[in-house]
Every structure is written in structure tokens, then in C-alpha cells.
Symmetry: C2
């Protein structure tokens, strides 16, 4: 979708305020060259202080972006565009972070088994003049899992650094019967909407 | 999902009757070791001779599997499991193959713009004793595309070897606002259902 503005984007210093290799791979897959600068923002916002999940993920994404933007500016290397994202797995109004133990990973996956949950990814795109925020949500429907399938998955080590205890782009993808929404929202960066925002920002420069 | 039977599967000679690097990557991503043996079956079945798209993709997948299975048997290297798949993009009852010209790619993408179409992937899994067939379908909803976005995409060269004129796992993913179904059905191999079939086939050997 970005091809008509790609020559403009190629001249910009675009920074992804994330250390996630998955996000970097997604964005490079669509031909966009970005620098990676993991944010030092401590992700410590209290979800209970927000009206809803959308405001929470957008604020976390914004804080990541602002920290990176400030730091690079102070270092004398101001970016043209900073992109930040935050992904959250939710079930029945509760938030699932990264499991802190194998038992917690088991409990999370067991509770996702055979039903639908919702993944939110909030995104912030900041330029000198403008800051755009949006959130995409995707429903993920897991098949019914046997306990030993869950245990076997945990033994692969994949769940432990993933929100919700699974990675849809890895072995965890075999648990997912279907989704409703943007697949890339579940991986961690909603590509369609991100590209629509970048296209709108740069189409008048093309 | 396959972890409890993985030690059994690792001892089997599993062949993917496909030359698609995307299918191979998907299957390797979930930790399954497979040999790749592109089928020599000429994909020349006439869709009009089938009751529906499901029977058509399953028959094409079956013919791919049978050709590979026979050939390897004759070569004295009989496989334990042969997996074949066929993917088809459809809109309003018409079938979209790989575009044969840039103009055809443009017309296809233009007709997919701003609406929903359906991708079918038929899969056949054959062992010595048993042949299982199934088809998954996923709805893919494209955002509204400007003509120059379509032209820019065609200029990347990505559309020309893809059914429907786009690859969801590449730059084409930026056109896809949302999907309903298994994402991997659109890439070319429905992972959830394939793993469920393999698990059922081998769980009594574990």
C-alpha cells in the first residue's frame, strides 16, 4: 500500500521504538527500512487507572515513543518518524501478561483452550508535527487443547516471553482455529492500519 | 499441538508434495521436519466439472499426493506420510489463479479492493493405511485501494506468481484489513486442522 510514498519514506529516519524482532521482521517484510531503538520506558502503567484496554495500550505505546524520541533528540540524532506499539492479550476483562512461571503459562493456556479471546495492539506514530494513535483488536479462537499438548508446548520454551503464553507466528499458531481481525495485530503490529496512517501522512509529499 | 506425538513423527519419513517455500516454512516453523518433493501432477482439472470449490481443491491436492507417493514408491523410497495442499482464491463464484499479465494482476486486485473474498485450501494427508482430506476456507477483507497503490504493488513483482495476485505474508499483507478464519489457510496450509489430523493419526503410537 505504501509503494507510492516509498521514495519519500526511504529518505526519512524512521525508528521503531521496540526491541521485538517480530515487529522488526513484520515492518521489513513490507519493504520499509527502520532503525530499531528499544524503549527504556518502564512498562509500569496500572491498567486499573484507565477507562478501557484501548486507552491503556495507547498510553503505553505513547510513553515508549516519547522516551525514544526524547533520548534520540538529546543525542543530537532526532528521528523523523517514531513508531511504537503495545500488545495485550485479554480474556473476560482480565489482562494476560507474560507468564512468570510454567504453572502460570499452563493456567493461561488452559483458560484460552476451546474459546475466543481478544488481542489489542495500540500504535503511536509520531512525527515532528503530528502524533497519531490507534488501536486494533483481533479475536483469536483457540481449539480445545489436551493438558499434555499444553505441557508439551511449554516444554518447547516458546510461551515464556510471550503475552498470553503463546506466539501465533510459531508453534503456538497450531492452537489457533481461527481469528477475526488483522492477523498482524496478534503478532504485534497491525500492518494495514499502520500503513494507512503512514500513507495519509506522506501522500502529499509524493 | 503436536508435541506429545513429535517423537513419533520425527521417526517418520514425511513428505510435503509441494514446491512452495511458504508451505515448507510454515511446516518447519512448527518444528516438523519434512522432505520437499514438488508434485509433477499437471494442475489441469477443470473446476467446472466439480460440484463446488471444496471438491476441486481436494481433488487437486489428492492428485499431487498420489503422484508423489507413487513416484517415491517406484524409486524404492516409500514415504510414511505425504501431505499435499491446493489453494484457491475466489470472488463471487469465480476462481482467481496466478495473473498471466500485469494488466490481469491489476484487474484482480482492483476487483478485490474494498471488499471480502474467500480463500480455500484443500489438504490431503496420506499414510499407508489411510487418506484424510479436508478443506478450510478463510474470508479476506481488503481495504479500499487507490489505483496507484495497486500499480506500485505490481511494480514490486510480488503479485505475479501468487493466486489472486497478492501474498498476505509479504507486501500484500498491507492491503488486508481483516480476515475471518485461519490465517495460514491464506498462506497456503491450514496449520490448526493439519496438526489436528496428524495428532489423531499418531496419538495411539505415542
Amino acid at each position: 500500500m505504501l509503494q507510492p510514498v516509498m521514495h519519500v519514506l526511504k529518505q526519512r529516519n524512521i525508528i521503531l521504538a521496540s526491541g521485538s524482532p517480530r515487529r522488526k521482521e513484520l515492518i521489513e517484510n513490507i519493504g520499509l527500512a527502520v532503525g530499531l531503538c528499544p524503549s527504556l520506558f518502564e512498562e509500569n502503567l496500572d491498567p486499573k487507572k484507565f477507562k478501557n484496554f484501548i486507552e491503556f495500550v495507547e498510553e503505553t505505546a505513547l510513553q515508549k515513543v516519547l522516551e525514544v524520541d526524547n533520548r534520540l533528540r538529546l543525542q543530537g540524532d532526532p528521528p523523523d518518524v517514531v513508531i511504537g506499539a503495545d500488545t495485550m492479550v485479554t480474556l473476560d476483562g482480565s489482562l494476560f501478561g507474560k507468564p512468570t512461571s510454567e504453572q502460570e503459562a499452563f493456567d493461561m493456556l488452559k483458560s484460552l483452550s476451546g474459546r475466543s479471546h481478544t488481542v489489542y495492539t495500540g500504535v503511536v506514530v509520531k512525527t515532528k508535527d503530528k502524533t497519531v494513535k490507534f488501536t486494533e483488536k483481533t479475536n483469536v479462537i483457540f481449539g480445545k487443547l489436551e493438558d499434555e499438548q499444553i505441557r508439551g508446548y511449554i516444554a518447547t520454551g516458546e510461551p515464556m516471553d510471550k503475552a498470553g503464553g503463546y506466539g501465533i507466528q510459531g508453534i503456538g499458531g497450531t492452537f489457533v482455529e481461527r481469528i477475526e481481525g488483522d492477523y498482524f495485530t496478534v503478532v504485534g503490529l497491525p500492518l494495514y492500519r499502520l500503513c494507512a496512517v503512514l500513507y495519509d501522512m506522506f501522500k502529499d509529499n509524493k
